[in-house]
């Protein structure tokens, strides 16, 4: 009896756990990302495409403060090369770093200068500080993208859905200047809705204009550059920036689990031996 009820309670708790409240927002499109599931790994070609989308599109407004160029050459990263276990020596990483200008202080004169990046530098932010960023973006701060795939309900699927989700607003919805309707963006559009109040459209208004367009980014590997492709690639890239140690984590997880299962088996055998002649 105790056992059955406990199982029931555990099952109920598992069902109840993830069912956190959601506003009226559309569920993200399911995307079969390569990194899903216990065996999932990042698709390096996809990460490279995603980096290009980020660099050429997102990075003009969004910062990515927690990621350094050297990370691109880390194990599991977009430009990892087994020939260069130390990412600071990886020529691709060095070249990508040198492409960027880093704000620095001249050690002699104290003047603010720009210098080419080195692998140890973090990705430079497009604006020197938050107020400058706001001022250039219609008063709204574009959020830092380093952790985006872990900091939003739905993760990379949410990102991919949002980027492809700039639909024509339904009739009766007043979209203000500098705003864009997106059914995947969490928000509340009730005050801009002139229709039936029981049927307020899903989603919210986002300050970001649709950032992607067909062929806006030319992929080096010849992949057709559709909006959907760009969105999924950059979503995968953002998952990597949010969780760069994912592959290492899953790999170690398997070794640990195999050990623990065998160890439990041994302990069980030992336990049965010890207790064999004792009733309990």
């Amino acid at each position: 009896m105790l056992r059955k009820v406990t199982l029931f309670a555990v099952a109920l708790a598992l069902v109840a756990g993830p069912a956190l409240a959601s506003g009226k927002v559309r569920e993200p499109h399911p995307v079969a990302f390569s990194f899903e599931g216990p065996f999932g790994r990042f698709d390096q070609a996809q990460l490279q495409r995603g980096y290009k989308v980020y660099r050429e599109v997102c990075a003009s407004c969004h910062s990515m403060n927690l990621v350094a160029f050297r990370n691109l050459g880390d194990k599991g990263g977009p430009f990892f090369d087994p020939k260069y276990p130390n990412p600071n020596d990886n020529p691709v990483v060095k070249a990508l770093a040198a492409d960027s200008q880093i704000r620095d202080i001249d050690g002699e004169t104290g003047d603010a200068i720009q210098r080419p990046g080195i692998p140890a530098d973090n990705f430079p932010a497009p604006f020197p500080n938050d107020p400058a960023s706001r001022a250039s973006n219609g008063g709204v701060l574009p959020p830092d993208l380093s952790m985006m795939a872990k900091a939003r309900e739905g993760g990379p699927e949410y990102i991919a859905s949002l980027l492809t989700g700039f639909v024509t607003p339904p009739a009766g919805l007043t979209v203000g200047p500098g705003q864009h309707y997106n059914p995947w963006f969490p928000g509340d559009v009730s005050s801009a809705w002139s229709g039936d109040h029981a049927h307020v459209p899903e989603g919210g208004f986002i300050a970001m204009a649709p950032p992607l367009a067909p062929d806006k980014v030319e992929f080096d590997d010849g992949t057709k550059s559709t909006v959907r492709q760009q969105a999924q690639d950059v979503a995968a890239f953002l998952m990597w920036t949010a969780e760069p140690k994912m592959e290492e984590r899953k790999q170690m997880g398997f070794s640990v689990l195999i050990f623990l299962v065998l160890f439990s088996g041994l302990l069980y055998a030992s336990y049965r031996r010890v207790w064999r002649n004792e009733s309990h």
Partner: protein, 182 residues
């Protein structure tokens, strides 16, 4: 209760005690092995992190150092001496190449070939890690204020408790006026 403990492990007929022992020993061995493996991350976390390792090299423009001067820059959290030696200082160092020393080394071995004026040293006394002052001591090299070690103009230990010459880091000339350390 001791009697119960003894009674608890009887050997009924037909039971093979060696097999039973094997299971217990295997379980204990696995526990010990797992425990030791689990300790490793807790030890390894104290090693330098990836961002610390990435910053371990610096470049320096030598035109900023005038003859007879030394600049001290920060490298891996320690002072690094870059000294532009005068001809007199070089001559004094070469003259002593055959003198009796604790850690014998020629002056030639302490600088890059053809760059005798440039001495790049880790500015940390080989005794217990204090920073020696430039130009101090009777050899015109460095003098460590902590325990009185005296280095010559080649950074070699000549007097005092320090056992070794001031260390030369890995460095390379990128051009005539630029060095990369580390």
């Amino acid at each position: 209760m001791a009697s119960t403990a003894a009674d608890a492990a009887p050997h009924p007929a037909g039971d093979d005690p060696s097999r039973r022992d094997f299971i217990h020993i295997a379980a204990i061995t696995a526990a010990a092995g797992g425990g030791i493996a689990a300790v490793w991350p807790f030890v390894a976390q104290m090693n330098p992190s990836a961002d610390t390792l990435a910053l371990a090299s610096v470049e320096y423009d030598l035109t900023k150092v005038e003859a007879g001067q030394q600049v001290t820059i920060n490298w891996r959290g320690k002072p690094l001496f870059i000294r532009n030696r005068t001809a007199g200082q070089i001559a004094a160092a070469v003259k002593d190449d055959s003198a009796s020393m604790k850690d014998p080394q020629t002056d030639e071995a302490r600088h890059k070939p053809g760059k005798a004026e440039w001495l790049v040293l880790i500015g940390s006394c080989t005794h217990l890690g204090c920073v020696p002052t430039v130009g101090g001591g009777e050899y015109g090299g460095w003098f460590c204020p902590c325990h009185g070690s005296v280095y010559d103009t080649s950074g070699r230990i000549r007097k005092g408790p320090a056992p070794l010459n001031l260390a030369v880091p890995d460095y390379a000339f990128l051009s005539d006026t630029k060095v990369k350390i580390g």
